[in-house]
Amino acid sequence: MIMVDVEPVEKEIQLLDANERRLDGRALDELRPIKIEAGVLRRADGSAHVEWGGNRVLAAVYGPREAHPRHLQDPARALVQCRYNMAPFSVSDRKRPGPDRRSVEISKVTSEAFSAVVFTEQFPRTSVDVFIEVLQADAGTRCAGITAAAVALADAGIPMRDLVTACASGKIAGKVALDLNKEEDNFGDADCPMAIVPRTGEIVLLQMDGHLTEDEFDQAMKLSIDATKRIYEMQKEALRRRYSTVAFDEPRAPAEVSA
């Protein structure tokens, strides 16, 4: 993965110990802790917050609403427009605000991934806008962002064939490993983020950089696909939590005082 801040490699760091434990104590097929919360923002039509290891990502959905600029409008379907953005303080060396080439690329492939599941033909000429804000980055932000955005889309009530779930696998110290953290991403040999429609198994996002043999790629995909099944359950659980509390909740804002 293209990192925003690449630190110079001064010495080889040992990413795996003799028992194949990783720097943060995980096994090769172990995910970092993940916490998903749906409906965290008030203004947005739908939103979600994901904590994934050291990543903290917010996603918000607006729409379907009028697409602008208008020349982008599609008379047959809605546009799904994602914007992936990193907060300047989300990385160790401050990132200049605004889009760079990396975030534009991620925004594009993320938009394409969600276009595959949203029933866009139901909302011609509109845009479903998905905003992903990385508040704290620790490698794997696009996967955390996609996982959050899928929950936010569901929270917004956007009709979809299924959620989208994302996860990455890669290679560290010659071994295929699930869900690389920042050190592993910086000093590892390969990283391969993917996003899948869990119900059908369609892969809607796939990127890779580094070096994998065909066998290693198979192993990596198996790890990722298996992990997305677990993450998918967490996404659904977050949505259930959100909508089972609302039913018994007090009104969110005080009722308006009559004049």
Partner: protein
């Protein structure tokens, strides 16, 4: 930022309410919404704070590194304030370069901090003329429900107050950023002929004029900004300042905690 449409019914409702000393959310005119601050919210920042002012939600991160001083101020550190009104926070915020609103907001917050000498810039010098601490304040709006100015300002002060100058950059230990003063920003909105403090979104949308006042711990005024196309009488300005002095003390304690 595109103007937000508000229905005539809502407008009249709010105008009627404030004219009779009430507000849509049940507050009295001089009442600030509940303020909640979580310091050190972001691990990748040298200092940070997440601020909830009612339903307005702002995240402020402080990044500190070393760099060269400006040639005209060799014995002074560098401090920059930027603001992103990301489209996640409101249907009226658009992506793209910072809007005039975002720039005004960052500059008003910056002024409050700078004019109070909140951070003693001379203490940020490592080698005069060569190497100083460079402090970046980044304001990230997350949920816009009115009065971003004050929420951003409280977040900035809170984030600075827990920020550390990273020892790894100079080969020493982490040192707390010296924060010597605590300017508290209070923003008043004028709706027709009534003034309310800490306007919520619906109030802000129909406000005719806005006045932001930064008050230091001695009760002195350190920065002001009047906004929008309406006007204030001199007496109204004095009323806003004296109310801000009164409200500021309690808010300061919350920010310092």
């Amino acid at each position: 930022m595109s103007a937000e449409v508000i229905s005539e019914l809502m407008r009249e409702h709010i105008v009627k309410l404030v004219a009779s000393g009430k507000r849509a959310d049940g507050r009295v005119p001089e009442e600030i919404r509940p303020l909640k601050i979580r310091k050190n919210y972001i691990g990748t920042a040298e200092g940070s704070a997440r601020v909830n002012l009612g339903n307005t939600d702002v995240l402020v991160g402080v990044k500190i590194s070393t760099g060269e001083p400006y040639p005209d101020t060799p014995r002074s550190g560098v401090l920059t304030t930027s603001c992103e009104l990301v489209p996640l926070a409101s249907p009226t915020f658009e992506s793209g370069p910072p809007s005039p609103t975002a720039i005004e907001l960052a500059r008003v917050v910056d002024r409050g901090i700078r004019e109070t000498k909140t951070v003693d810039m001379e203490k940020l010098v490592i080698t005069p003329g060569e190497k100083v601490w460079v402090v970046f304040i980044d304001i990230h709006a997350l949920d816009y429900d009115g009065n971003l100015f004050d929420a951003a300002s409280y977040g900035t002060l809170a984030a600075l107050s827990c920020a550390k100058m990273p020892g790894r950059m100079t080969g020493g230990a982490d040192k707390p950023l010296p924060v010597d003063h605590w300017p508290v920003s209070i923003t008043a909105a004028k709706i027709r002929n009534t003034i309310v403090f800490d306007a919520a979104l619906d109030e802000e949308r129909i406000a005719d004029a806005r006045l932001t006042v930064a008050i230091d711990e001695n009760g002195d005024v350190r920065a002001m900004q009047k906004g929008l196309s309406g006007s204030f009488s001199y007496d109204e300005v004095r009323y806003v300042i004296s109310t801000a002095r009164r409200l500021g003390n309690e808010l300061r304690r919350t920010i310092q905690a």
